[in-house]
Amino acid sequence: MNLSAPTPQWSDLIRDDRVHGSLYHDPAIFEAELRNIWYRTWVYVGHESEVAEPNDFVMKSIGPQPVIMTRGEDGQVHLLLNRCPHRGNQVCTAERGNAKTFTCPYHAWTFANDGRLTRYAFPDGYDDADTAGLGLGRVARVASYRGFVFGSFADDGPSLEEHLGGATASIDQLVETSPEGEVEITAGFLKHRVKANWKFLMENETDGYHPAFVHSSIFSVAESGIGDLYGAKSTAVARDFCNGHTEIDLRPEFRKLGKPLCWFGTSPDRLPDYVSRMEAAYGADKAREIMIDGTPHTMIFPNLFIAEIQIFVLQARAVDDTVQHVTALQFKGAPDLNRRMRQQTMGSVGPAGFLLADDSAMYERTQRGVQYRDPEWLYLGRGGHRERRDENGFLIGHATDEVPSRGIWRHYRALMEAA
């Protein structure tokens, strides 16, 4: 009996300028993605600041798998699976806390916060040898880049920095927004669930074509300048960093305006403390440059979206069930900036957000649409005739072009064909 799902011919489903609709709704394809993407490549899990103290823990996930992110007494970050090796019970039901050990409520097996089995009830029922090697499951590899913690279920493969490649520049750009060079994830998460495939969300994050239409309602009544960044005359750039990572680089527009903090819809006189801390940290010229450029708009494959003022963590739970975990970015040493980050995040994103509620309507409509019979393909050819390479060799195009989607699908196909 063949228990493995049938493997599709990926070249039949993914072409240079179009992808087949079944990629978004076929449960067998979702199972293949779990094997080849979510349980193999580097996936963003959480941030070191969420487990700031020894023995802190917080519940996270990799796709449908809950993952406990802990900091051991020695300061090391561990990613553990919430499954007792005895009967499979969940050992932790708290969302976060501080604990040296986790005790399974079923038969009182107890685990250190690095996953080792340390004690069990009525020990004379076992030879020590029986239980040697039993412990909580682990995510095989854990690595972090500037505080952002990623996990990979594969024992070996590319290093995190190899995986991130050109996208490390976005994380570097992000942390420089803090006068202390550090991001903190401390504002709490909004969890927004949608009846749509995770890839519709991932592609939408760096789709610069939709804002002028999906978000025209809020742009018009809030007198926001964001709409112009994604207009036909915008000088902003869509970029494929390779390895599935993509961005909309808004810096050309912000540099043209040349006004510090314009990216955040404010000005230096409204955030004087922040400005003086930035100048003290980086010097006046560099601080001005950072405050003109702003923060990145970058989708790190497959699940971390850095969205200027917040991060979104995509959690694929089933073929048509995705959760976006979203929180305001908090920059160490910038309390006045951080307060506004939280206010704007609560307004714009999450289940009721001025922006994200309407994005979610699009995800869910497209999810229904791809199950209709005809036409079977989604067309991703926009801007193919004007794609070019930047000084680093990355493919770029106009902000509204589908350079990012095509890049995502090239990487996706390579991962799926590597089975």
Binding site: E95, A187, G188, F189, L190, K191, H192, R193, V194, K195, V214, S216, S217, I218, S220, V221, A222, V323, H325, T327, A328, R342, Q343, T345, M346, G347, G350, P351, A352, F354, L356, A357, D358, S360, A361, M362, E364, R365
Partner: protein
């Protein structure tokens, strides 16, 4: 973080956005029925009258049908002989879980 954390001007912005006709998550608008029950007066001070209630909202939208259950708290004030609402706090029962889009004013 709150799902909705509106002051008076942000509520006004929400209404303006709805009225553009391009608030896509409300086109067509959600069909709603509300039940407010177990109303209790919790106290009164200089700030106003504090009232608690349980609320159930049934929503039918393009996505499907959703039931929203909440504990609500209100701050009411007497203005020219009528009760006016100064504050409303909606505490969703399942706010620890991932929630579907909530694009009407609950």
């Amino acid at each position: 973080m709150s799902i909705i954390y509106d002051n008076r001007s942000r509520i006004a912005l929400r209404i303006k956005q709805l009225k553009t006709g391009r608030r896509h998550s409300q086109e067509p608008r959600s069909q709603l029925r509300r039940i407010v029950s177990n109303v209790e007066v919790l106290g009164e001070d200089d700030d106003g009258i504090r009232v608690g209630a349980n609320a159930m909202v049934f929503e039918s939208s393009l996505r499907g049908d959703t039931v929203w259950a909440a504990r609500n708290e209100y701050l009411l004030r007497r203005v020219d002989g009528a009760l006016r609402m100064a504050r409303k706090k909606v505490d969703l029962v399942n706010n620890d879980k991932a929630l579907y889009t909530l694009s009407f004013l609950i």
